[in-house]
């Protein structure tokens, strides 16, 4: 129990309000009923959009960088077996132990085994989407091991017993006052009289984790890039928690999706310009760590790399969909998405929310998340900001086509096709539609159609048919 407990308003974890396994339309409706979260998201995404646009605008070769990044990633996908083997060879020569994991369970089991063999029952963690994806923390807990998140936002989410709602800033749905309340309620050693000044909150996190960093035996990380040519891993961060985890412990376990490969060290000249500007809107993030195997007298002696598939090789098979594997997890697409800004990340029901999640989740876990490709208005803002030029709208439409379609929808589309193909019938249908919707004419839209049209209006308004069709208007004009 914290000394402050009892006097602090309890912050309800937002993810707990969304029913488990709810499809997007239902989950989004719940999320839309959380005004504080919507305000927090609007504020945070607004801030970052402005910063990103400014620093991307400073580079007059931004489009050339995007073109290069997109092509390099396409090349990685086409040469993935060769590059993975090259990476493994170079990393091994440099003293790392490389493991391969078909899925999350295999990766978690390897990580847990290494942790135990190192004589530890806990690990410190660098923020990593791969370990979120495979639920490493939950696996460790079930095995009697403990994983401590050290990134500030991850720490907030872990203390709040919530789930991440954003790829880069998992606690984006909380404002500073809520974060202070979470610290005061849940952080054992929260300083008394803690204010909601962000600097004070950062200081509290520093004090909370410092001892743990200096005494940790094992760290778990992901990686932003894996350089095949040299066998190096790259971690991009801000706070220094990454450096702590990557430098201080004796044993380091890095779990790396196979799509993170880059062919050469020189390729970093492209990606390290694009990533920080697209993610936090900085010209460069405060800290980037690059390491190659183990180094005598510097950092962890026992260095492990787990190359993770977990559905990625299946995504690779889809000619249109495989571009989702180019993602560098900057989250610029979340920050510009009108849907994400209003629903937040939890409504997506997957560790990857927002536009990139809407194309990654259904591909990584086929048959689940078929609702997500519809969680978009196809406005295209995500494609425009994507630093690696993933054509997200194209993949969304592709996945909608590939996904399941209910019999009712097929019948309705068939009927519409038959009517639209016959001009007379179409004209008559429009006339009938105008007649039957007269009561709503002044409102301009209908909120709910009677069944079976209600299936359409459950998440959309139905616009009124125009009072005069284009054909009638043209005819009138010709006279």
């Amino acid at each position: 129990m914290s000394a402050n407990a009892g006097t602090v308003p309890e912050v309800v974890p937002s993810s707990s309000l969304i029913p488990a396994g709810a499809k997007f339309p239902k989950a989004a409706k719940v999320a839309l009923g959380m005004p504080q979260m919507r305000a927090n998201l609007a504020h945070a995404t607004g801030t970052i959009r402005e910063k990103r646009a400014k620093v991307a605008g400073e580079l007059d070769d931004w489009e050339q960088l995007r073109d290069a990044a997109s092509a390099i990633k396409a090349d990685v996908q086409h040469r993935m077996p060769e590059l993975a083997i090259e990476f493994e060879r170079k990393a091994t020569e440099a003293g790392a132990t490389v493991h391969w994991a078909r899925d999350g369970v295999e990766a978690n089991a390897i990580a847990a085994r290494i942790t135990r063999e190192a004589g530890a029952d806990e690990v410190v963690k660098v923020k990593s989407m791969a370990t979120q994806e495979i639920e490493l923390n939950e696996f460790f807990e079930a095995q009697g091991l403990r994983a401590w998140e050290t990134d500030l936002a991850e720490l907030i989410v872990q203390l709040a017993e919530d789930k991440p709602s954003h790829i880069l800033v998992p606690a984006i749905h909380y404002n500073r006052t809520e974060i202070r309340d979470i610290f005061r309620g849940k952080m054992i050693d929260a300083p008394t009289g803690l204010t909601d000044d962000p600097a004070a909150l950062a200081e509290a996190a520093r004090l909370h984790l410092r001892k743990r960093f200096l005494s940790a035996k094992v760290a778990v990380s992901g990686a932003n890039f894996a350089v095949a040519e040299t066998g190096s891993l790259v971690v991009v961060e801000s706070e220094g928690n990454g450096r702590m985890c990557l430098t201080m412990p004796e044993t380091l376990i890095s779990i790396v999706g196979i799509e993170k490969l880059l062919p050469t060290f020189t390729d970093l000249e492209v990606f390290m310009q694009l990533l920080p500007r697209s993610s936090t809107g900085e010209r460069m993030n405060p800290y980037t760590s690059i390491w190659t195997g183990a180094t005598d007298g510097d950092g962890p002696k026992d260095v492990h790399i787990i190359l993770l598939d977990n559905g990625r090789t299946d995504v690779l098979a889809d000619e249109v969909g495989r571009q989702a594997l180019s993602c560098i997890r900057c989250s610029a697409c979340l920050n510009v998405c009108p849907v994400y800004e209003r629903t937040g990340g939890h409504a997506y029901g997957h560790v990857y929310p927002g536009p990139i999640g809407a194309i990654l989740a259904p591909q990584l876990e086929p048959g689940r998340h078929d609702d997500l490709p519809y969680a978009s208005s196809l406005c295209g803002a995500c494609y425009e900001v994507c630093p690696v030029k993933i054509n997200i709208p194209e993949v969304l439409v592709h996945l909608r086509q590939e996904g399941p379609h209910q019999a009712g929808e097929k019948a309705a589309m068939g009927a519409a096709k038959a009517v639209m193909a016959r001009p007379k019938l179409w004209r008559a249908a429009l006339g009938a539609a105008r007649f039957f919707t007269r009561p709503w004419r002044n409102k301009g839209y209908m909120r709910r159609l009677p069944w079976p049209g209600s299936k359409w209006t459950v998440s959309r308004d139905m616009p009124m048919p125009p009072q005069e069709s284009f054909r009638d208007w043209w005819k009138e004009r010709e006279r």
Partner: protein
């Protein structure tokens, strides 16, 4: 079948008929415009990210207080150890090198660097000459970095060839910071909260 073979086979199966990707176009910049004042640009960017900038080796005497324990790599030039601070050498090949608690007792660390990128205000360490191992530049709360004029380049692409690619690297752009609260940058979390950069003109 091992997981390795299985995954590699799945990759190959998924790529059947995919052919080769087109060669990546590399029409982006690899240097700044020739007339860019890189030192001024570097200073501007460092200050923007709340680092303090100083000129000349004598300024170290003012940055570090009298009697402060300051860790330095064993190969740090003697002429950089100016002022009244107590300079303590770290030698990683020492049979009993300083441990985390020893480093935590240091007030500051003084090192050189491998390269500095003006356009992003980034200083790069690759554990080469005068830089020491990674832990010494991480644990103390105050990092003083000496940058020679000839180590400053304009663009990231000019800096990469100067680094030892396979040595442990740390690229530093300002002091430790976070954007995790309402996406506003706040200085000071786990890394050194104070960053002083000393620029040595030729």
């Amino acid at each position: 079948m091992s997981a390795r073979e299985d995954i590699l086979n799945r990759m190959r199966r998924s790529l059947e008929g995919a052919g080769e990707a087109a060669e990546a176009p590399r029409e982006y910049r690899r240097a700044l415009a020739g007339d860019t004042e890189v030192v001024e640009l570097l200073i501007d960017r460092l200050v923007d990210y709340k680092a303090q900038v100083h000129h000349g080796i004598e300024s170290i005497a003012d940055i570090l207080d009298e009697g402060q324990p300051v860790v330095v790599p064993a190969d740090l030039p003697q002429e950089w150890r100016v002022g009244e601070a107590i300079f303590i050498e770290d030698d990683p090949l020492d049979p009993e090198p300083m441990d985390a608690d020893d480093l935590d007792a240091m007030d500051a660390v003084l090192t050189g660097c491998a390269a500095a990128v003006a356009v992003s205000g980034t200083i790069m360490l690759d554990t080469g000459a005068a830089q020491g191992r990674r832990a010494i530049t991480l644990v103390p709360d105050h990092h003083v970095i000496v940058v020679r004029r000839d180590q400053i380049v304009g663009h990231l692409a000019e800096a990469l060839p100067r680094l030892s690619a396979t040595s442990p690297q740390t690229w530093i752009s300002g002091p430790s910071a976070t954007s995790d609260i309402e996406l506003q940058r706040v200085e000071g979390v786990h890394g050194p909260r104070r960053l002083d950069v000393v620029i040595l003109d030729d």
